[in-house]
């Protein structure tokens, strides 16, 4: 009891009422007042006297301030979650969704859709353009191969015509002793004065760049040049028309320097054949 009296007289309760205590002291005072009714009564006395003192010292604030402060507190009611809204429950149900955001998002989506469509269209267009290009290329290739084919057919027709033509005689030129494997065919029409050599059946060694084969016709024992030709690596289906001549007893081919010679080099004779 002595302790409690001393505690009361220490002045701590007064400081507690004045809010001039540390957190620790505060908890201590609160523990004391909850434990000892005497302390609680003392505290209550102090509080009442200070409250009365404050009331004695009261200053009435201006009349306008009452409205202002109450209004500010009442305005806060709307934002106050803890305040019961039982007086205006209908208001909550009266809230109508503002339609603007909906329209807003419609245009947003429409714009996005348009953009997507545009990108898709451009992509499709590019693809179509590429396909068209490919098709055009193929068409060109096809038409050129077609052209080649038709010209080949025309040429073959012509060649076939030569063999069918009874005026043409086909002479087999056989290899000389040096070149026994060499062989070629010459078609000669004295009436049309045409000499053709069959490039497809040309069985001669390949000539180099410095030399060419030269076809000779023996007319009355003398050689007459009928022009030069090449034996290339790739076989040709052509029949090559040589220079014209009205008559000949025999044909021969020699290997001559490029461009041909005036007289045949006899030791370079590849093939020879006569009627």
């Amino acid at each position: 009891m002595e302790d409690i009296k001393a505690y009361i007289e220490s002045g701590i309760l007064e400081l507690y009422v004045l809010g001039d205590v540390t957190q620790e002291e505060k908890s201590q005072v609160e523990a004391m007042i909850s434990e000892y009714p005497v302390v609680k009564a003392e505290l209550d006395e102090i509080e009442r006297s200070m409250e009365a003192y404050a009331l004695e010292n009261a200053i009435e604030p201006s009349e306008e301030l009452r409205g202002k402060i109450l209004n500010s507190l009442l305005t806060n009611f709307g934002d106050d979650d803890t305040f019961p809204t039982k007086k205006e429950p209908a208001k909550k149900h009266n809230v109508i969704a503002f339609p603007a955001p909906k329209a807003n998002s419609f245009y947003k989506y429409a714009f996005a859709a348009c953009l997507a469509l545009l990108i898709l269209s451009v992509a499709a267009l590019v693809d179509m353009y590429n396909q068209l290009n490919t098709a055009n290329t193929q068409l060109v290739a096809l038409s050129s191969s077609n052209q080649h084919f038709s010209s080949t057919v025309k040429f073959m027709d012509h060649q076939l015509g030569i063999y069918r033509d009874t005026s043409f005689k086909v002479i087999k030129l056989k290899g000389t002793a040096k070149h026994s494997s060499a062989l070629m065919l010459v078609a000669f029409s004295p009436i049309k004065k045409q000499v053709m050599i069959d490039m497809a059946d040309l069985q001669l060694p390949q000539n180099d760049n410095a030399h060419q084969y030269q076809l000779w016709a023996l007319v009355g024992g003398k050689p007459v040049s009928l022009g030069v030709f090449d034996k290339t690596a790739s076989d040709s289906a052509d029949m090559k028309q040589m220079q014209s001549i009205a008559q000949a007893q025999a044909f021969a081919v020699t290997l001559e320097p490029k461009g041909g010679s005036v007289n045949p080099t006899m030791d370079q004779m590849m093939v020879i054949g006569s009627f």
Binding site: L15, I33, M50, L70
Partner: protein
């Protein structure tokens, strides 16, 4: 807002209706305590507009932090007056308020200084002066500092040049004196 007269409730009723967040509780709270609280605030802050701001802040804070008040820990007014005093002191020490005071216009200086020095006659302070005079001068000065100016007892001891123990005793005696007076 029309006024039909001040609303008054018992402290228990008031606490109960404040807990239930009833609208009438705010009006009752204001009518019952605004002048007492304003009395304390306006002794710390002389400027009327600033004191009124603090009174408003005080009520907002009381309303929003009411859940932290417990009757176990003391009377409602004790809790509220501490909120008011702390807000007033915060305001007094705030940068804005200090700057505002430095930037007083020249022509207002005379009245401002008058207000600061409290030489203006305020009829509402008449009763207090009498009352405070029933206290001994040393009790009066300590109450002035701690209760009205918001000094801590440590600051008051420093200001008056008295040991801490003496300050506590004087403060207690002053309040004992008040208790005699009011009871």
């Amino acid at each position: 807002m029309t006024r039909k007269g001040k609303i008054s409730l018992t402290e228990d009723e008031l606490v109960f209706s404040l807990r239930n967040r009833e609208k009438i509780a705010i009006e009752a709270l204001y009518d019952m305590y605004s002048s007492s609280l304003y009395g304390v605030i306006s002794r710390i802050i002389v400027d009327t507009a600033a004191a009124e701001d603090v009174l408003q802040e005080t009520f907002v804070k009381i309303w929003h932090s009411f859940s932290s008040y417990s009757t176990e820990k003391g009377r409602l007014f004790t809790w509220m007056v501490n909120i008011a005093r702390n807000l007033a002191i915060d305001k007094l020490r705030s940068k804005d308020f200090k700057n505002q005071n430095k930037n007083q216009e020249l022509e207002n200086n005379v009245t401002f200084i008058d207000e600061q020095r409290n030489t203006v006659y305020k009829p509402e302070l008449l009763g207090i002066k009498d009352l405070v005079q029933t206290l001994k001068p040393e009790q009066k000065s300590i109450l002035e500092l701690v209760y009205f100016k918001g000094y801590t007892h440590v600051e008051a001891a420093d200001e008056l040049g008295i040991p801490l123990g003496t300050i506590k005793t004087r403060l207690r005696m002053a309040i004992v004196e008040l208790r005699k007076h009011f009871n």
